[in-house]
């Protein structure tokens, strides 16, 4: 008998939602001592399925029919108090963002002991001792300090380890992990995945692992279930599903996962359009009186960029890659160094002199939701640039229609407001806005990181097409090595504001020089299997 057996589960959404059912007739089993992955894009119902097992569906969302058998007992029939007793003891769960999942104002120790003492009648001191043990088992150091610390004082990896320690504190039979590594940097992600896998093996427990990333699936799963629109499309052993996907959607998903190897030819050898040298940016914090602390976000960075080529800037969060981009486009004023655009230093130009040059460098932003003014129509948004430079509104709109077609949107959408579009469509609109000014340089700041994997592939393709058609020099900023490999001619790896190494993509991937780059590459999930 499997540990968990979900039979014909249907989860209904409140009447005000855009669809009636979030989970539709799902069947799924989790056996003992195995890792089952549920993989799917946003809105597939994978997360709510997990929450249904925990008995923690949000207010207004109900399990309408079906059964969830846990060790033979239907969890949906349990009283709330019985469910409470099971939670944490028999079934534990860890969440996507450990920062949000830990109470910010309660010390770590207390948060761990709280769970132990909710189920076992032991003293706080005894619970603390157990907590310390657990934390060291999770590979954490200075445990005593850690127990007194607050969540914000920990790193992302430490926080997720604490979450796992908490989840394991009562040796549950089932661990549900809901995208536990999505909010983490790639090297940390690899460590956490390894940890989960190790613990699962040691304790011989069952894990239900929810993810959107087939790379992770390949590394982790014994079995996999692919979900879409609340239904399970495909279900089987991981090797079978990856090797011989039965469903076309599964195939599309697998195909859309960037391969982590460069398909692009080496860059054309051309005179650099943009030359950055010694660029430095510092941030000061602190008030009128106190000595402010200074952090150097970008430290003496130099690079060149030519027409027709894409330079990838890769780094984890806090590496300074976004700050670099914002300095180059003068959203920030750099503290030192120069940015030569066709020989003119725009790094220190006065606002008035800079304005005519602005149109030559344009940007595509990360967040498809905040990058478009919610109160303007698409037409107004993308013709705003030309109008600044005095273009006739009628002519601008005519051109806007062409550009919209170019980025794959219907020109008739011009009178609509941004909220009527999906994330991928919004990124296309953002690109259209940049292209309207016929720029020479396009800076793309994590343009696909907020998108689902299938959409991601389409947008990456579009960017590459546009770059080629318009002979753009493109600066592509990303945290994802696989994405960088797919679209960049050259790659520059950054860490703590400094350049770690740079070179043609193929060389970097094939023969990384620095340990850091090697670690980054090693951390790419599913690199071997896909």
């Amino acid at each position: 008998m499997p540990l968990v057996s979900i039979q014909n589960l249907t989860v209904a959404l409140p009447p005000s939602a855009d669809r009636p059912l979030a989970v539709d007739d799902v069947r799924l089993e989790v056996g003992r001592n195995e890792i089952v992955c549920i993989v799917g894009e946003s809105g597939s119902g994978k997360s709510l399925t997990a929450h249904a097992i925990m008995g923690l569906l949000p207010r207004g969302v109900t399990a309408a029919s079906g059964r969830i058998l846990f060790d033979g007992q239907d969890l949906l029939q349990q009283t709330p108090e019985a469910m409470r007793k099971r939670r944490g003891r028999d079934i534990a769960m860890i969440f996507q963002d450990p920062m949000a999942a830990l109470n910010p104002v309660v010390a770590i120790g207390r948060q761990v002991t709280e769970q132990i003492r909710a189920h076992r009648a032991i003293s706080e001191a005894e619970a603390l001792r157990q907590a310390a043990d657990l934390l060291s088992q999770m590979g954490l150091k200075d445990v005593d300090e850690l127990l007194k610390a607050y969540p914000h004082q920990l790193s992302g990896g430490q926080r997720q380890r604490v979450m796992i320690a908490m989840a394991l504190s009562l040796s549950p039979q089932l661990l549900i992990a809901d995208e536990p590594t999505t909010a983490l940097d790639v090297t940390t992600q690899a460590q956490i995945l390894k940890l989960i896998k190790k613990i699962q093996a040691e304790r011989e427990m069952s894990v239900l692992f929810i993810t959107h990333d087939f790379g992770v699936v390949a590394d982790m799963a014994d079995k996999v279930a692919v979900m879409r629109h609340g239904r399970v499309l495909e279900n089987g052993l991981v090797g079978d599903v990856l090797g011989k996907p039965a469903h076309s959607y599964t195939r599309a998903l697998i195909a859309a996962v960037p391969r982590g190897e460069s398909r692009l030819p080496p860059p054309p050898d051309a005179r650099p359009l943009v030359q950055v040298s010694g660029l430095t940016k510092r941030f000061r914090r602190g008030g009128l009186f106190g000595r402010g602390t200074v952090t150097t976000a970008v430290d003496d960075v130099s690079l060149t960029l030519s027409r027709g080529e894409t330079l990838g800037i890769v780094g984890e969060s806090g590496s300074g890659k976004s700050t670099l981009a914002r300095c180059m486009i003068r959203l920030l004023d750099p503290d030192g160094g120069e940015v030569l655009l066709d020989g003119a230093d725009i790094a220190h130009m006065k606002a008035r002199a800079l304005r005519p040059l602005r149109r030559r460098i344009q940007m595509v932003f990360q967040d498809p939701f905040s990058s478009l003014n919610p109160r303007q129509t698409i037409g107004d948004i993308i013709t705003a640039g030309p109008r600044v430079y005095g273009e006739e509104p009628r002519q601008a709109r005519a051109r806007a229609a062409d550009i919209l077609r170019l980025v794959g949107l219907n020109p008739e959408t011009m009178n609509r407001l941004p909220h009527e579009f999906s994330g991928g469509q919004r990124q296309r609109i953002g690109l259209a806005r940049a292209l309207m000014l016929k720029p020479d340089v396009l800076i793309a700041d994590e343009p696909v990181s907020a998108l689902d994997v299938t959409v991601q592939a389409q947008v990456l393709q579009l960017l590459d097409d546009v770059r080629r058609q318009m002979n753009l020099a493109m600066l592509f900023i990303t945290h994802d090595m696989r994405v960088a490999a797919q679209v960049c001619h050259r790659v520059m790896v950054m860490r703590h504001g400094k350049v770690v190494e740079s070179g043609p993509t193929r060389d970097i991937f094939a023969r990384p020089c620095s340990d850091y780059t090697k670690a980054l590459l090693a951390a790419i999930p599913g690199r071997q299997s896909i």
Partner: protein, 324 residues
Amino acid sequence: MKPRYIAMRLVKTVLVAIAVVLLSFFLIRLAPGDAATVMAGQAGYADEAYMKSLRVEYGLDQPLPVQLWKYMDTVAHGDLGTSYVLRRPVLSLILERLPNTLLLDAFALVVAAAGGIWLGSIAARRPGSVLDSANTILSMLFYSVPQFWLGMMMMLLFAVWLGWLPPFGIETMGADYTGLARMADVAVHILLPGTTLALYFMASYARLTRTAMIEVADQDFVKTARAKGISERQVARRHILRNALIPLITFAGLQASILVGGNVLVENVFSWPGVGTLAYEAVTSRDNPLLLGIFIVTAILVSLFNLVTDIAYSIADPRVELGR
């Protein structure tokens, strides 16, 4: 870092006080008439010699910059000058009244916060329920009623019609109570003005608590807490309320700053011998040293309250570091 930061804040308090003096010195002097005309008018009889002697005594015959310089000089020596009309040191006049105002404030603050948090958390438990709506409407009502009028109505109801409470004043005249009896006497007197003040702020506490609790209840760590299998009561207390109360610290600090200047209207309606009535007298008699003194003392107290609020905030929320 912390003692240094606190020292810096105290220095800033002094600077704020100086700025307050400068700004209000000129502001106050814009108003027509001076203390001499007031006193001449009050006496029912006046002549030039009398008024001139008053003006010379007050230094009102000097040019404005000289007056300002002299005033700043006295203030710099830790003296707030002498009241024109009451002819006593301003500082002692204010210190005489300040405890009464602080007492009323403390009462109003505690009642408002306790009542408001209680009401707000009840409402947040079932958003959209009848209880919640009733709560919202009641809070709004107290927020919308003119304080002076509410005070009059309370006096009418509880002191005149029901006869439960003394109508006004801070203590029983000539009773010469001591110890506990005196405290009880003052407690009975504080109920009406204190509650009048508290109801207004209680509405804000209730609304803030309700919103904050609903917002916190949506956060991931509350889900975590439930996933741990701890009881709903503990979830509500340790995780939801504990986090929801943090923004209330700011509001309590704000309330304290608003109240410390004294509430002219409520103190007037209930003859509460606080700073508000003193300020009212100072305005109506152009007693500029007194008014300036009240402004300075208020400014310093408000700055201190802000500091205390910040310290309390940094204790309640470990993410917040003092001076950041």
